[in-house]
């Protein structure tokens, strides 16, 4: 079965991002497909590579990047939510005249249409967060 995942919380709001990670891992283990993970609202904070938690803490951003690489996941960050919160890729850096970018490996910035498409293309859309 094909799953779309929506995450509305950052890595340090509550535990939505970790719950979603566990859900995605379990779904992949069971042989399901993850069509896309869409990071919305504060969820875009999962997509900055500058996150530096203590070494004995779980690194949620790296966990997503590693899972994306291993399973070729499509991790999409909402552009409007990202602009408000300072999540920037090369394209956004150039477009908005910023002095750098911080998008984490495996993530890309795009629009809400990507969430709508995930809702249409997936058999189930599962939402995590606030």
């Amino acid at each position: 079965m094909k799953f779309g995942i929506q995450i509305n919380e950052g890595p340090y709001n509550h535990e939505a991002s970790v719950s979603a990670l566990n859900f995605v891992r379990a779904a992949l283990d069971a042989g399901h497909e993850i069509f896309r993970v869409f990071f919305y609202h504060d969820g875009v904070n999962n997509g900055t590579r500058y996150t530096t938690p203590p070494q004995d803490d779980i690194n949620i951003v790296n966990s997503w990047s590693e899972l994306a690489e291993k399973h070729n996941l499509d991790l999409v960050v909402c552009v409007a939510a990202a602009q408000r919160r300072g999540i920037v890729d090369e394209g956004e850096q150039e477009r908005n005249g910023k002095d750098g970018n911080n998008i984490a490996p495996g993530f890309r910035i795009s629009g809400l249409g990507q969430l709508i498409e995930a809702g249409i293309q997936s058999d189930r859309l599962v939402v995590f967060g606030d």
Partner: protein
């Protein structure tokens, strides 16, 4: 057409669980996870609402989130079933839709 309702907030914090149980149709499934697991405990001021709903809906609770909060299975309302993440995934497959009560 059956729906899986997910509730991730404590019933002592928000009204999500009560709204969910009021509106969930007969035959629906409800999964309590994250702080939502507190809604699965017996002997609280919210227990009666949950016990009453069990006649019409199936209620599940995520074991990992119970354990993280020190909620033992002996504290659960009778009839609530404990699932792991694999069980969570299975519930989303068995039901036609997933509705998150955020």
């Amino acid at each position: 057409m059956s729906t899986l309702h997910t509730v991730n907030k404590s019933p002592f914090d928000r009204r999500a669980l009560e709204s969910c149980l009021r509106l969930a149709t007969k035959g629906s499934a409800v999964l309590l996870f994250e702080d939502g697991v507190y809604g699965a405990m017996k002997g609280t001021e919210k227990s009666a609402i949950v016990e009453k709903a069990l006649g019409d809906v199936s209620i599940y609770v995520l074991g990992a989130d119970m354990k993280a909060r020190g909620v033992d299975t002996s504290k659960l309302i009778d009839g609530i079933k404990v699932v792991d993440y694999k069980g969570f995934v299975d519930l989303t497959v068995e039901n036609d839709k997933v509705n998150a009560w955020l």
